[in-house]
């Protein structure tokens, strides 16, 4: 049985822990509000950009298909002719269509959009926090990444990991240390800024240009509510429509109608050039948004876990106080018994 002094010491220590956890909860709650606002504020840009990209790509694709159809129609027409005329037609075709064919080839979608055509090397960008004490926030991301990597290993793909946040590296380095190519710490410590995501994007694009990977995905906690976060895999290279739930079908149809082949839409510079210019920016926006989501999730997760820690601490204090009081009474009773039995003996 612990002595009274031991109990007193334990109660004070639990009390001071409780003070810390409740303070952390308050801090997390106020930060959560701020980062939640940031998440909401950053949505319109991402959504608009994505709609533009989808429509541009559709447009280029549609035109390419149309050109191909023209080409096959021409072929078919030529093959129906007699040999003499065929030769003539071929000559004409060569002379007049070669130029057009060349332009059709240059109308290919950029590789950031279409990918390299392979799926051998995967780059996972793992977003976690730099600090702990936020419940299952980091471990759930780490678990999902681990499962994913095992799957990729089975398929004999090469894996590379870029960690944003210290905790993710710590959790993954024992098993997959050889895959981790870099760890960025202190990202968005003073609130996420777009410039920061831009720098990360540059590094990633440089790697992509050097063909160090074919597919790039972001892994982060998507913020749903303070109580709930969801580990999300989002493929960013090659481009995949991610916000489809948020851009309604109606909206896309409306846009497509406007962008459709019939509408006279001007482009300055060409569609191709615009797409090439905005794809890297879209990547930066995606990274920026996932950093924001991850941050909001971190604060939400920390808030709830610190809240339950505070509650657990007060339960513990109650239990310990009862134990303390009982022990104290037991001591008093014991002393009384000793006195009485001493007196009786005399």
């Amino acid at each position: 049985m612990p002595s009274l002094k031991d109990l007193r010491v334990r109660i004070t220590s639990v009390k001071s822990t409780q003070k810390i956890t409740s303070a952390m909860k308050m801090v997390a709650a106020s930060k959560l509000k701020r980062s939640q606002d940031a998440v909401v504020a950053a949505k319109p840009y991402a959504k608009d950009l994505e709609t533009i990209i989808v429509n541009l790509a559709n447009r280029i694709e549609a035109r390419r298909n149309a050109e191909e159809a023209d080409e096959t129609r021409l072929e078919a027409a030529v093959s129906n002719l007699t040999d003499n005329v065929k030769n003539l037609a071929n000559n004409v075709k060569k002379r007049y269509y070669v130029k057009e064919l060349n332009t059709a080839k240059s109308q290919e979608l950029p590789s950031l959009f279409d990918g390299t055509g392979k799926e051998n090397a995967h780059l996972l960008i793992v977003l976690t926090s730099d600090r702990g004490l936020c419940g299952g926030f980091n471990s759930s991301v780490a678990r999902a990444v681990r499962n994913n990597i095992r799957q990729l290993e089975k398929e004999e793909k090469t894996v590379k990991i870029l960690c944003i946040g210290r905790k993710g590296r710590d959790a993954l380095k024992r098993e997959f240390g050889k895959y981790i190519i870099n760890t960025l710490e202190g990202v968005a410590r003073k609130g996420a800024s777009f410039v920061e995501s831009d720098e990360i994007t540059l590094k990633i694009i440089e790697m992509f240009e050097n063909s160090e990977f074919d597919v790039c995905s972001l892994v982060y906690n998507k913020f749903i509510s303070a109580m709930k976060q969801e580990v999300t895999f989002e493929q960013v290279i090659p481009f995949k429509l991610s916000m489809h739930e948020e851009i309604s079908d109606e909206e896309i149809k409306h846009k497509l109608h406007v962008f459709g082949p019939g509408a006279v839409y001007e482009y300055e510079p060409s569609e191709q050039e615009i797409l090439e210019k905005i794809l890297p920016r879209n990547l930066a926006v995606k990274i920026f948004n996932s950093i924001l989501e991850s941050q909001a999730s971190e604060h939400g997760s920390r808030m709830t876990s610190m809240d339950s820690a505070t509650r657990n601490a007060s339960e513990m204090i109650d239990k310990l106080s009862i134990k303390y009081n009982r022990t104290r009474q037991a001591f008093i009773t014991k002393e009384l018994i000793e006195i009485i039995s001493g007196a009786e003996a005399v």
């Binding site: 950053a42 541009l56 831009d198 540059l202 001007e266 569609e271």
Partner: protein, 142 residues
């Protein structure tokens, strides 16, 4: 439809400004151009420069300096996705000059290609702000 243009100026961080205007002048890829109601749809990339908002009586409402981006205009809606935006009256010339100097120093120190590109972009951006302000002052002086 037909009397006003709904303009939305968005940066990655937030919706910077939302306004119904009579006309807006945008620094397009090939040169500045005005967007009036019932304009033909256009998708255009932007240079760094000033977006000017005019109300229905063609009086200047806002002047905003944007750092590149893209504008999508159709159905009397004008969406400007800018990488960076600030109101012209808020530009602090000295601060920009300091940043420019710092960037020029940084670019000498760094060897990494990607970082260099980024800093070069920044330098261009700061330069364009300073040039714009100088021009502005010349006009005032005249």
């Amino acid at each position: 439809m037909g009397k006003i243009v709904k303009v939305e100026l968005v940066t990655p961080e937030k919706i910077f400004l939302r306004e119904e205007v009579g006309m807006v002048i945008i620094p397009g890829y090939k040169g500045d151009f005005a967007v009036l109601p019932r304009r033909a749809p256009i998708l255009v990339t932007l240079r760094s420069g000033v977006v000017t908002f005019f109300n229905k009586d063609k009086k200047v409402m806002h002047r905003i300096f944007v750092a590149g981006g893209i504008a999508d205009i159709h159905n009397d809606e004008c969406k400007i996705l800018a990488e960076n935006a600030m109101k012209v009256q808020d530009i602090d010339c000295e601060e920009i000059a300091l940043k420019l100097e710092q960037a020029k120093k940084d670019i000498k120190e760094t060897e990494i290609h990607a970082v260099r590109i980024k800093i070069e972009d920044n330098i261009k951006y700061y330069d364009s702000i300073i040039k714009f302000i100088e021009q502005e002052e010349r006009i005032k002086a005249d």
